[in-house]
């Protein structure tokens, strides 16, 4: 008898709530824009935050509402922008592929190591005291950027500098934010000329600390045929990316080879990894 009462009570309760839920799901249904789901299917769903909103679903809602531009998805690039435009039936816009550029070539071979850093092995901590290298503007080499990259697009090379993989980088900018010395910058793929140095010391001092430092000689500024294309700021050549001509006219005479044209290595991850493996195994 007790057994039957228990079964009936539980069954009755179950039935009661089931009916309640069934009615609620019909009556209180929130209408979702079907386009949001469509957009979500196209988006890369990396939740990288490069577009400026917290995640891909927020992006989808914003895009459908018209708050976000069609080409705002950095990780997806042109391909996703076109697909989205097709799905929503609106005009596509050109999306610029952004890439992370490491603007320091002062690795362990080029700079002098003159102190031992024994604190916590992160760049953010090391930057508080100065790090190991004699150049106080250089890459600290403790790989905060590599840790921050969620796409496996960065690794440290055997010279103690981070490498960005051309095939993996989606341009989210997390590494640029993680770098305490602002060495990593985000630039559009069409940019070819970069000053690979952040040293603001005067020439002789900069030269003493690093073989490939900008010594502030001003040759690139003179060679630049566009007024204000490259300017000298605190003994450092700074490129104006809007007007500087993207060819080798400015880079040929650089004595330390710190301003370079088309020298981004465009590393492919698998190639790099297999090379690293070879070095590690000694073959």
């Amino acid at each position: 008898m007790i057994l039957i009462i228990a079964v009936l009570t539980m069954g009755g309760l179950g039935l009661f709530f089931a009916i309640g839920l069934a009615i609620a799901s019909k009556k209180l249904k929130v209408k979702e824009d079907p386009r949001v789901k469509k957009v979500m299917e196209i988006l890369p769903m990396t939740n990288c935050g490069a577009c400026g909103v917290p995640g891909c679903s927020t992006f989808a809602v914003g895009l459908v509402k018209g708050d976000i531009a069609i080409n705002a998805c950095v990780a997806g690039g042109q391909e996703v922008a076109d697909l989205l435009a097709k799905a929503l039936g609106i005009d596509s816009a050109t999306s610029v592929r952004m890439l992370a550029v490491v603007l320091c070539r002062g690795g362990d071979k080029e700079t002098r190591k003159f102190a031992t850093y024994r604190g916590d092995k992160t760049c953010a901590s090391a930057d508080l005291t100065g790090g190991e290298k004699s150049c106080s503007y250089s890459c600290l080499g403790l790989s905060d950027c590599v840790v921050s990259c969620e796409f496996g697009a960065m690794e440290m090379n055997d010279n103690g500098l981070p490498v960005v993989f051309y095939d993996k980088c989606i341009g989210c900018g997390a590494c640029a934010k993680a770098c305490p010395r602002d060495i990593i910058e985000m630039h559009s793929e069409s940019m070819k000329v970069f000053v690979y140095c952040k040293n603001k010391d005067k020439g002789p001092i900069a030269k003493k600390h690093c073989d490939v430092a900008c010594i502030g000689c001003g040759l690139c500024v003179k060679d630049c045929n566009v007024e204000g294309g490259i300017v000298m700021k605190n003994n450092l050549a700074v490129i104006n990316y809007e007007s500087c001509p993207q060819d080798d006219s400015t880079t040929k005479r650089c004595p330390t080879k710190c301003i370079l044209f088309d020298e981004e290595p465009k590393q492919i991850k698998e190639v790099f990894s297999s090379k690293a493996m070879k070095v590690a195994s000694g073959s």
């Binding site: 024994r118 901590s125 508080l128 005291t129 106080s136």
Partner: protein, 449 residues
């Protein structure tokens, strides 16, 4: 006898015996000085000399760059070699004036310490003279003294406390000043008291400096100035401003507020002597007493150094660095750690080409087993750090937030209240670099929040 003190804190080994009996010696005149324009809290000074200018010792070379700022002065006679960005002992870079000396020095004269030197100043003039002399808090934080002495009108400061604790291990500069120049300290204190119209002077001294207590007592008696000397328990960080106030008067300074909130002004021993020099001789803050100590230096000394002398030159005057063979523990690598300050709060230097600045109370060189590399392990949630944090914070939490950059949490867990005393790292059984992470967090908070 139960001595007054604050809650929590630690008892590190003090190693003060290395220098506590050494008289203050005048250092050799440096051939070149590097004078950073950022030697105080607040805005850096604006440089008013240029390359090639001839400057005199005591001449102003940088004007105060804002209200919370202080001027800087040339510390030797000579010629300005350059004005460049130079490595700063507090970390980072700062614009600095490099002066090549001509080997001469100015004679500032001698005055017998007496109260009559204060009589020619009114309260406002006292403040003005202190501001002009570029005097800042010389305990380390280097807060401009002029700003300290100018509280908002509605706040009345009635108590002046002299911070004679010097709780940082190894350092004895303040101790020696209290023993050797007690009357200057007392007159400097009286000047502070007069300039703000305070009614009471306390002197807080840890009970490991008994000789300073008697010399200060004598000096106060002979100058007939009423001071109350409070003997405090020897504990770290007794000399932290807020801890000292708690110990001496029992008042608690609210988080994020200055001591003037409770009507108290705390001053360092070095600062009072600098005030005396400025008033009696018209000499700006261009010299300070620095303790050079640690097991890495041949002859530990208390030196009266010019601001801008490079660490390299200072170390040379102390007989240089001890050779690793001389140390008994040969299993450790012959490495050296050079700190601007003491071992608890000092900043490790990556080069010895950095200058002594107004806030440099000591240079500590550590080697051998004192700096044996430590590998940190995971937090075991033992709460040792919580039981010693003098500010009553939860260091294990805040450190992790700092490491991971959790800005909102850092704010709500009062990371900014941390005084970076280092007690938490000192007691951590897992050897976690807690203060370093908290500092990273504070840097991020300042940038973004």
């Amino acid at each position: 006898m139960n001595l007054k003190t604050f809650e929590r804190g630690i008892h590190p080994s003090y190693h003060k015996g290395l220098t506590s009996e050494n008289r203050i010696e005048k250092a050799e005149l440096p051939k070149q000085v590097i004078i950073p324009l950022r030697q105080h809290l607040g805005a850096p000074s604006d440089v008013i000399v240029k390359k090639g200018d001839l400057v005199q010792e005591g001449q102003m070379i940088g004007e105060a760059g804002g209200y919370v700022s202080a001027p800087v002065h040339a510390s030797i006679n000579g010629k300005v070699k350059d004005v460049v960005l130079h490595t700063h002992p507090g970390g980072g870079k700062s614009l600095a004036v490099i002066i090549d000396g001509d080997g001469t020095e100015k004679d500032w004269g001698l005055v017998t310490p007496s109260l009559s030197i204060l009589d020619k100043f009114t309260g406002e003039e006292l403040k003005g003279a202190i501001g002009e002399a570029g005097i800042v808090g010389m305990g380390g934080a280097a807060f401009p003294t002029y700003v300290k002495l100018s509280p908002p009108k509605e706040r009345k400061i009635d108590t002046v406390i002299l911070n004679g604790c010097e709780c940082e291990p190894y350092l004895t500069a303040d101790h020696r000043l209290m023993v050797e120049q007690a009357s200057k300290v007392i007159i400097g204190l009286e000047a502070i008291k007069r300039s703000i119209g305070a009614s009471k002077i306390f002197i807080g001294i840890e009970d490991n400096k008994k000789d300073a207590v008697s010399t200060l007592n004598q000096a106060a008696k002979s100058l007939s100035i009423e001071v109350e000397i409070v003997i405090l328990e020897t504990k770290y960080p007794q000399g932290a401003e807020k801890m000292l106030i708690k110990a001496v008067t029992g008042q608690v300074v609210p988080v994020g507020k200055l001591p003037l909130e409770v009507g108290v002004l705390v001053n360092n021993v070095g600062t009072t002597v600098a005030i005396y020099d400025a008033l009696a001789l018209g000499k700006p803050l261009i010299e300070r007493v620095v303790t050079i100590s640690g097991n890495g230096i041949k002859t530990p000394r208390n030196l009266l150094l010019r601001v801008g002398t490079s660490f390299a030159e200072v170390i040379e005057q102390c007989g240089g660095v001890i050779s690793p063979e001389a140390l008994s523990d040969t299993d450790t690598p012959p490495e050296l750690e050079i700190l601007n300050g003491g071992p608890m709060m000092g900043v490790a230097q990556s080069t010895i080409q950095v200058p002594v600045i107004k806030g440099t109370s000591g240079i500590t060189l550590l080697t051998g087993k004192e700096i044996k590399p430590k590998k940190y392990s995971p937090c075991i949630k033992c709460s040792s750090c919580v039981t010693v944090c003098p500010m009553g914070l939860i260091p294990l939490k805040i450190a992790d937030m700092g490491r991971l950059g959790m800005i909102d949490d850092l704010k709500s867990w009062d990371a900014m209240a941390c005084i970076e005393c280092g007690c938490c790292s000192f007691v951590c059984p897992s050897k976690r670099p807690l203060v370093q992470w908290i500092r990273v967090g504070k840097v991020k908070l300042r940038e973004l929040g």
